[in-house]
Amino acid sequence: MPKLTIDGLEVTVEPGTSIIQAVEQLGIEIPRFCYHDKLSVPANCRMCLVEVEKSPKPVASCAMPCADDMKVYTNSPMAQKARKGVIEMLLINHPLDCPICDEGGECDLQDQTVAYGFDRSRYREEKRAVKDKDLGPLVKTVMTRCIHCTRCVRFGEEIAGVEELGVLNRGEYLEIGTYIQQLVTSEMSGNIIDICPVGALTSKPYEFTARPWELRKTQSVDVSDAVGSNIRIDTRGGEVLRVLPRLHEDVNEEWISDKARFCIDGLKNQRLDRPYIRQNGKLQPANWPQAFEEIAKRLKGVKGERIGAVVGDLADCESIIALKDFMRTLGSTNIECRQDGAQFDASEPCGWRFNTTIAGIEKADAILLIGTNPRTEAALINARIRKTWLAKHIKIGVIGQQIDLNYPYKYLGAGPETLEELAKGKGAFADVLLKAQAPMLILGPGAVCRDDGLEIHALARKVAEKYNMLRDGWNGFNLLHTQASRVGALELGFTGGDLDKMLKGDVLYLLGADEIPVNRIGKDTFVIYQGHHGDRAAARADVILPGAAYTEKNAIYVNNEGRPQLAKQAVFAPGEAREDWKIIRALSEIAGKALPYDDIAQVRARLVEANPIFGAIDAIKPATWKPFGKDGDCDKSPFGEYIANFYMTDAISRASKVMAECTDAFEQGKKEKTGTHG
């Protein structure tokens, strides 16, 4: 292990560590533009120059590996002079339009010029201008500001897996562009905004909205899928202005999907900001006591078995447990969280979690995807698979739809038959799985959202067992969910009800459940809708209780891996809307069955009591392997597509104009391309 001195401090590092990484370990700062620790190292900006003893010239610290007895000086006169020179060169063609640039205040070039550059310009010649590119409704470009660090190009190639940006022309004419005129079609394209060190790529929806120093920053988690990406919510004056990723190596690294980032304008549209009661067939505004009383009146005398409750995709764990307890006091066991009709066995955590863990994907050497399109169902899990494929060229097999996943795979078949064959040890992929050291499978919603879901669940378990996907310290069985609430609800046992029976019962309590077949709700069923958006189900409700969206409450969400994470309140819910568990608590009192908790600490204590995993935030307790599913014959029909439009999957994204624009720009285009593409 190389031992070197940096600014007089001795440090021993792993072989292969670059100087910049070693310096970072010591907490010393080296300015950089092109270097990004999640991307390859092109060493083209030269901002990271340092002095290394015995080297006649300054050395690019991002590309130079540490060697024994090196003496590095990060702030010597030579290093300082080199940086000044680099900054001066970069500014030659940079427009210096900081006052009208959205990056201002959080721009690497701006900061580093102040910290390391000259205090005045010596350049008197003309500057060049570059034509802006149209990258679609999400990313705004001002290409004259580009300093050609190529981070965006490398992000596309290495992380997102869409090689659409490139370095065109040369010399004075060099520019970043796309092929002829093409949009950047990735579920993760927004991340190029974050990695662009200047204002060349900025957020279009956030254009000219705020300066970073005006914003209040709240650390939270995303609910647009079940990955549980860590995010930072930036707000000003009670308004959510933007969402940025927050580093969590085990979950989302430092990326988020475009839906997580850009659906937030949906938080302002179609909000339910006061209770409503249906009178004479019309929803009329009401106040809380009236709404509660109306419900209490209706609940009186109704038998528990005629009452049902369904939780939706965005529900938090506090409200789920409150609703479950409330239903129990009403004598009802008709509770269900699988509003999409998914039919997997909900009795064993090993059967529904992403057991391998997201970071664990990187250890896999063979992956079988069954009835899933991770690209739309969990974009960041797809990015991990791609990362693993890129690093080790692992073998990937697909059963289900034949789609472009951003990495090559072996297509095995369309439906359960192929899976059955595999379970019998037949088929081309059997060999690959047998030889693998760490094989894993991902069972997707396309495979379990069907009538034979239980059988397929069992079949997948058999495949996992046959191919030794369960060994010491390795569990290769994964069920992929797309709903932020789903795993939390399963952990709390919010299942067991018969959806069809519930829809036709006397009272139906919908906690943000918008994906249920609304048209199958019984004519005389009394529907209580608690949620934050006037989406699909609210229109059918008899009483509407306005709840809080994920940015408006302190709540726990459990991600696909079974990892409980904290969402923090960034703004207040609009109007009279309240935090969801409090609504249920208040209602329970008026209905005469007061729940035994009065503050969030007590609710959380109740959560821990219901399931100990809630006691350890951000930790995963591995599930023990037990049999699940039901033996039986599967239908022959192929696995279907679960998410037809990535940009609109829940009440928030359906209310978002930006997501609607994306649908127009990207999804429509994709449909036209089918057949010749991929």
Binding site: E163, L165, G166, L168, N169, R170, Y173, Y179, I180
Partner: protein, 245 residues
């Protein structure tokens, strides 16, 4: 250098297919590289496409190449835009590339350019109305010894040009004739103005032919016009001495 020239007055063909003979070449080039590394053949393929398609590469050809080499289109586009010898817009039948880099410029390339512009009635970057000639400016063509230099269609060099001797070249091309390739002043390759000077003695001693002179059998005496000391044989000292001018 597509950044410099942006023409919009032409139509991109919808389709491009390599001809049968060219397809053989394409396959031969691809076969040179190990499997999975076929993208390395992108440059020769672009060149073949350009030759097949009257001196320029249409978008359809780049797409075809991307398909053949299993690359993304943007990667082909990157290469095609990087090199100045790939034309992404229609060019005249004779694409004349004028070197105007320092050595050529010192030797009068500006005058050569001016003479041609006047003769053809177009400016740098333009194509004559009859589609015969395109003039473009390029950087050093690597033939500075015979500056100024003009390259035609990426293949032929016309060297030692002057405003006077460049016109006959153009006229010959116009008439469909093949002008003499290389120096237009009659000098042999890049032989210096004083004839063979450096290493002449060594060539004599080893019985090798000296440029511009008959074969060594005759052992011509004038070969030693500039006697060189043996110690002068180091590379830095083999240049003609300035004072002999």
């Amino acid at each position: 250098m597509s950044g410099a020239l942006k023409r919009t007055d032409f139509v991109q063909p919808r389709e491009f297919k390599f001809s049968k003979e060219n397809m053989k070449l394409v396959e031969a080039h691809i076969a040179k590289y190990p499997k999975g590394r076929q993208a390395s053949a992108v440059m020769p393929l672009l060149d073949i496409a350009q030759r097949q398609n009257d001196n320029w590469i249409p978008e359809a050809a780049m797409e075809e190449i991307a398909r053949l080499l299993d690359m993304t289109r943007i990667k082909v586009f990157e290469v095609a835009t990087f090199y100045t010898m790939y034309n992404l817009e229609p060019r005249g039948k004779h694409h004349l590339q004028f070197c105007t880099t320092t050595p050529c410029w010192l030797m009068g390339s500006a005058d050569v350019v001016k003479a041609c512009e006047k003769h053809l009635g177009i400016h740098m970057g333009e194509t004559t109305k009859d589609g015969q000639f395109t003039m473009t400016e390029v950087e050093c063509l690597g033939a500075c010894v015979n500056a100024p230099v003009v390259q035609r269609n990426g293949d032929e060099f016309y060297e030692d040009l002057t405003p006077d001797n460049v016109i006959p070249v153009i006229e010959a091309l116009k008439a469909g004739k093949q002008p003499k390739i290389g120096s237009q002043t009659g000098r042999q390759t890049s032989l210096g103005p004083l004839g063979a000077t450096s290493l002449a003695k060594q060539a004599h001693d080893t019985g090798n032919q000296i440029m511009g002179e008959p074969a060594p059998a005759k052992k011509a005496a004038k070969a030693a016009a500039v006697p060189t000391e043996p110690k002068d044989s180091t590379p830095t000292d083999t240049k003609p001495k300035g004072k002999k001018k």
